[in-house]
Symmetry: C2
Subunit: 355 residues, 2 copies
DNA sequence: GCTGGCTGGGAAAGCGCATTCCCACTGCTT
DNA sequence: AAGCAGTGGGAATGCGCTTTCCCAGCCAGC
């Protein structure tokens, strides 16, 4: 990766490297018009591209922003990533991507790698976990983040703070009202369906999932209903499918849920999986089961029957998180970022039917 | 972003920076056991994290791989990105993300930015364009890539080579048999439907789109059918929707296509959009129109009626492209990457019906 | 016992750039 | 006309690391 250097440009232009640096890469001091022109021409003819690594080393800042997601192909993360990417562009920075599958151990590695690259800030999307087996890794992740922040790094976490992380300077949390919104959803659904509800959740300990479950139960209570049964499964389409198969068997068997079922899957992808399972078993939605998800994933909006869900401004969330880590500047009124708001979106999949 | 440095570690361990470097960051020379241990302890107690920028500067290589996509939230690109990410992890490198919306001008910027960061390699996903208005930008992109390669960079392009790019050392193309597969699809569809076909394509000049259109027509010819009409629209869900509305009107009106229509959208996302439009107009698939897409996007597989399409190993494509840019090493038999293969996948959306 | 080849550690020279400090020169003021 | 601040350019230093080169000490071999 050799390329022409500032020194070469300077030599060609007949000036010192210092001067060349001043004209080519923004500096407070502006050299004379004619000299500037000469330098620029020299740079042009050599195809000079500043070495960002060297610049970063000299200025000790890299213009990099690290993004940590579970899986970039998951539409939830992809949407957030789009927001991050956009905000990064606004700030003329580049995004460095790390995927971890959600394991805190991997996340720690990613943070370390970002720190090594001297990323100016880190955005962590994806649910934190409080599972016992993740205890140690979580502690290490927290320590790593703490060190990163102490060294001047900026961190933004989407959803929940990292377990055990102190809140040092530079540590921001973009709160997502998962619980409140899930409660709202439950209330709306309860108003339209008076049969039983079942929740298809992710593994216990996943904050996002837990919050939504808790919120939904709370909403049921508020609506004067008993708590719903919780089915745990993996936090993806296949998890939803598995749970869906179980429920289908139950519905088909008649039994206590013979009259149908209200299903709440803690995210859209799981909801789609569950719906696919029901359909595969010959059941129809919303006739045999009403189903709702969470997130309002764009790619899934054309799904039929249209999925009731909670709309979350995922792109904005990514953008907000990224902006939270941006260096504050003068015209910045220093106001905290606007809170994330979502909205219950009822569609066909939970429509009243032959209840 | 200050952190402890190698020098500090060395001082603490009572050795020279050279020695510390040798033990901490892989070198051919392995210092003595006891010394190594001492250095490692010192590093540990200081929480030393090597400065990748400085390393990169010294070694002139960054361990970075640049990925250029149109839109990271598009499931097509997200899937490729996942493959790239995985391969990058294998090679212990990190991926830098740039999104361009498909504009060659932006792509040129991205390449320059990657070059500035001294990315070891660049993967360009997303269709190249040959539109007249992109002529100039394409030339600049080609020039930028050429320079990048001459400086030792590795480039892999998915699909088509960049227009006008020479094929210097380090320039790889992961060919995707769009045309052949589209032809195969046409043949299969023609065997099952003897009415008219219409193609919903992206804007003229987009290679991916053009190839698929050409292939489909070729397949029709091979099946003894006349060419299909081509409807151009934007290369995304909304483009498909718009085109779908037009076709719906036509089908509803009866007219020449009164008996239904065979629709081929050049990608799944457009196909889904078109299907949504047809449904919105009260038409049913496959009864009133058979519809097929291309790509076999994972998130869309639960869509109903299940979409006939061409399955492409998107993740593999990303992986292959990334591997193509990896430095060759000894145990590498130097064989070119295996070609990308796809497969026609017929599902409900084109099933024989009241044709 | 002396030399030649190794081994393992340190000194030092960059990698490409930003930036501080310094200096020559200009154009004022008094 | 002498002194001054102010301007604009260059020399030099350092960012944190790798790597070459050098040198001291060691062993084997004659």
């Amino acid at each position: 990766m050799a390329a022409s250097t500032l020194t070469e440009v300077a030599r060609l232009a007949g000036v010192s490297p210092a001067t060349a640096s001043r004209v080519l890469n923004g500096s407070a001091r502006k050299p004379g018009k004619d000299i500037a022109e000469r330098v620029r021409q020299a740079a042009d003819s050599l195809g000079y591209i500043p070495n960002a690594q060297a610049q970063g080393l000299a200025k000790s800042s890299s213009g990099l922003i690290g993004l940590i997601v579970h899986d970039i192909a998951d539409p939830y993360f992809a949407a957030i990533a789009r927001g991050v990417q956009e905000a990064a562009r606004e700030q003329r920075r580049m995004v460095l991507l790390a995927t971890t599958g959600g394991a805190p151990g991997e996340e720690k590695e990613a943070v370390a790698a970002f720190a090594a690259r001297r990323a100016d800030s880190i955005v962590i999307a994806g649910s934190r976990s409080s599972r016992a087996e993740d205890r140690e890794d979580n502690a290490e992740l927290a320590a790593e983040l703490d060190r990163y922040c102490r060294n001047g790094g900026q961190v933004a976490v989407v959803g929940h703070p990292v377990v055990g992380a102190a809140a040092p300077e530079g540590y921001h949390v973009v709160a997502v009202p998962n619980q409140e919104l899930a409660a709202d959803l439950a209330v709306e659904l309860a108003a339209r369906w008076d049969g039983d509800f079942v929740i298809i959740a992710g593994p216990e300990g996943l904050f996002t999932s837990d919050d939504r479950v808790r919120g939904f139960q709370e909403g049921l209570t508020r609506a004067g209903r008993g708590p719903a049964e919780v089915l745990r499964s993996s936090f993806n389409r296949d998890g939803g499918y598995q749970a869906g198969l179980q429920l289908a068997a139950r519905i088909t068997a008649g039994g206590p849920d013979g009259g149908g079922l209200g299903i709440f899957a803690v995210n859209d992808v799981m909801a789609i999986g569950a719906a696919a399972a029901l359909r595969a078993e010959g059941l129809r939605i919303p006739r045999d089961a009403r189903i709702a998800g969470f997130d309002d994933i764009e790619t899934l909006r054309d799904f039929r029957p249209a999925l009731s869900t909670v709309s979350l401004p995922l792109e904005d969330i990514g953008r907000l998180a990224t902006r939270a880590t941006a260096p504050r500047h003068a015209d910045d009124d220093g106001q905290p970022a606007p809170p994330v708001t979502g909205r219950v979106t009822l569609r066909r999949s939970t429509e009243a039917a032959a209840g």
